[in-house]
């Protein structure tokens, strides 16, 4: 059933990585991604891999969980690999019919797959070790300079928190509605694609109605508590940079510097 879907991928823990300021983690992920795209050759990929390995080891997130995150991307990964394998110019290794595999093709495919995997695992590590609320807090804080150009940073963060908060609620609600309609003989499993799409109406209509009702109730509840946007609003949990954040950011800077230098030597 729907209940078995894990959406809030947060794995609670109390490691250094978990305790890092969410802003630090967000910045590190950005630096890490930039570094990945600057990687050119085995040595620089090895450096990026080492960086990720260190973070994973410190976070005590099991590798199995990280690889599980790659599962939905398998098709994309295979597709990219094949495209690169067959469509790269260079020294031909094998040739049959209209296909030819080149030495460069194999290399390109390998690097691209490695890049995607490192990218996905790095970002998953962020969501695995940071609670959604901390993540939105961090994002709000990082984006706050944009307030100067009237970008609604607080509102954006609030919308994200509310959306995250209601995902489990809506899943539960959907589950209930599906059961109720099934009890009235609704059939979601047979028929062609049009029939199946039509069979979704008895689920979607009540779901939308209830989502609007909830939104309305929430808006009233927020107004009752005098919510009027982000201006002058203080926080219960203030974010503070600590020693470990400085160290982590320095490591990130080091990674970026290393990759840039290695790039000069095409390594």
């Amino acid at each position: 059933m729907l209940k078995d879907i894990t959406l809030g991928q947060y794995f609670p823990g109390d490691t250094v990585v978990h305790r890092l300021d969410p802003r630090t983690k967000l910045l590190l992920v950005i630096v890490y991604i930039v570094a990945l795209f600057l990687c050119k050759w085995y040595v620089s990929y090895a450096v990026a891999l080492a960086f990720l390995a260190l973070a994973v080891a410190l976070s005590r997130i099991r590798l199995k969980a990280l690889f599980k995150g790659l599962k939905p991307l398998i098709i994309i990964i295979i597709f990219t690999a094949l495209l690169n394998l067959f469509y790269s110019e260079g020294r031909v290794l094998v040739e049959f019919w209209i296909f030819k595999i080149t030495y460069e093709g194999i290399q390109n495919a390998f690097f691209l797959v490695l890049r995607i995997m490192l990218l996905v695992m790095g970002t998953f590590l962020l969501t695995y070790t940071t609670s959604p609320i901390a993540l939105t807090d961090g994002l709000e804080s990082l984006l706050s300079p944009l307030k100067k150009i009237r970008f609604p940073v607080h509102e954006l963060a609030m919308m994200m928190s509310i959306a995250l908060r209601f995902i489990p609620t809506l899943i539960e609600e959907t589950d209930k509605i599906i059961s109720a309609q099934k009890a009235r003989g609704a059939d979601f499993e047979t028929g062609n694609i049009f029939r199946r799409a039509k069979a979704l109406i008895p689920i979607l209509v009540p779901l939308f109605v209830s989502a609007f009702r909830r939104a309305d109730e929430l808006a009233t509840a927020m107004e009752c508590r005098c919510y009027h946007g982000g201006k002058g609003r203080t926080k219960l949990k203030q974010l503070h940079y600590r020693g470990r954040d400085v160290i982590a950011l320095l490591l990130g800077a080091l990674l970026l510097a290393a990759v840039i230098v290695l790039r000069q030597f095409a390594l």
Binding site: K3, D4, E173, K176, I177, S179, A180, Q181, K182, A183, R184, G185, A186, D187, I201, P202, V205, P206, V209, S210
Partner: protein, 288 residues
């Protein structure tokens, strides 16, 4: 009387193989007779909702079986689908499942899924609307324009329209005002009398189930704690309180009277019965 529903050694485990694995019901066995009114009571999390979703095949037992008229509802796909229509299930807050343009169409959803003819559907909808206390004048309105209580009646009519042999109600009166409660329960009682349908009703309100049910099934932590006539169940008030349940208010009063030494029956659970006993006590058996 023959057993309409037989639940055999039913167990259900949620989220098998994850850290969230837990048993909702464990080794439940009981039977429901044809035409019976069975009240199901139990604390939150006692497995009531899980149990009732097994009765029409919405949930598949992890272990054990559910039999309708002696035949497993899991025999084959057709039997399972037929069970959906033979056992009607009215969920908690059923008004949140309404979706059609008009009340009429919403009530007709179940019969339509059964593949009935237009004329038959029309007949069933009108009959169901009458039973559930839905005024015929609202049949062409949008269900979303109705009041909460009316919406619930429409949703109940939607299940009645399938004319199931068994109807299971999950907390049908939750969130209704006292007058709405009483009139809805009266509708259910009248429906049963008119059709002879078997009724199962999950409820928190001891007073409601005590008045209507022939027998009670008390669940505790996913297992059958007691099963029997209300008069038998309510004599065990002590145990009921231990598992977080209560006895009807009248019973509480009569248990206390018995403790104080009055010659009353402590298993009294209806107001009428209580009145009779009190009058007898007062006037030495004289009653107008």
């Amino acid at each position: 009387m023959a057993a309409t529903i037989e639940v055999r050694n039913l167990s259900h485990t949620y989220s098998v193989g994850t850290p969230f694995q837990h048993d909702a019901v464990k080794h439940l066995s009981f039977t429901v007779e044809r035409g019976e009114f069975l009240g199901i009571i139990g604390h939150t999390g006692s497995g009531k909702s899980t149990l009732i979703q097994h009765l029409n095949g919405l949930l598949k037992p992890t272990e054990g079986d559910v039999l309708l008229d002696g035949e497993s509802i899991w025999k084959d796909k057709l039997t399972t689908r037929a069970a959906r229509f033979r056992v009607g299930l009215v969920f908690q807050y059923p008004e949140y499942q309404l979706f059609e343009d008009t009340v009429f169409q919403d009530i007709a959803f179940g019969p339509k899924n059964m593949g009935l003819k237009e004329a038959e559907i029309r007949q069933r909808v009108l009959r169901a609307a009458d039973f559930a206390g839905v005024d015929r004048s609202v049949l062409d309105k949008s269900p979303f324009d109705l009041s909460g209580g009316q919406k619930r009646r429409v949703a109940i009519a939607g299940v009645i329209a399938m004319e199931p042999e068994v109807i299971v109600f999950d907390e049908p009166t939750a969130g209704l005002d006292p007058a709405g409660c009483a009139s809805l329960l009266e509708n259910i009682r009248a429906y049963r009398q008119a059709t002879g349908a078997t009724i199962l009703m999950v409820s928190h309100s001891m007073d409601d189930v005590a008045r209507l049910a022939d027998r009670l099934l008390v669940l505790n932590k996913g297992q059958v704690e007691m099963m029997g006539k209300p008069s038998e169940i309510f004599t065990r008030a002590q145990r009921l309180r231990e598992i977080g349940l209560n006895v009807p208010q009248v019973t509480t009063l009569f248990l206390r009277l018995k403790e104080l030494g009055a010659p009353v029956d402590p298993a009294t659970y209806t107001v009428e019965d209580a009145l009779e006993q009190l009058l007898r006590l007062k006037g030495g058996g004289r009653r107008a």
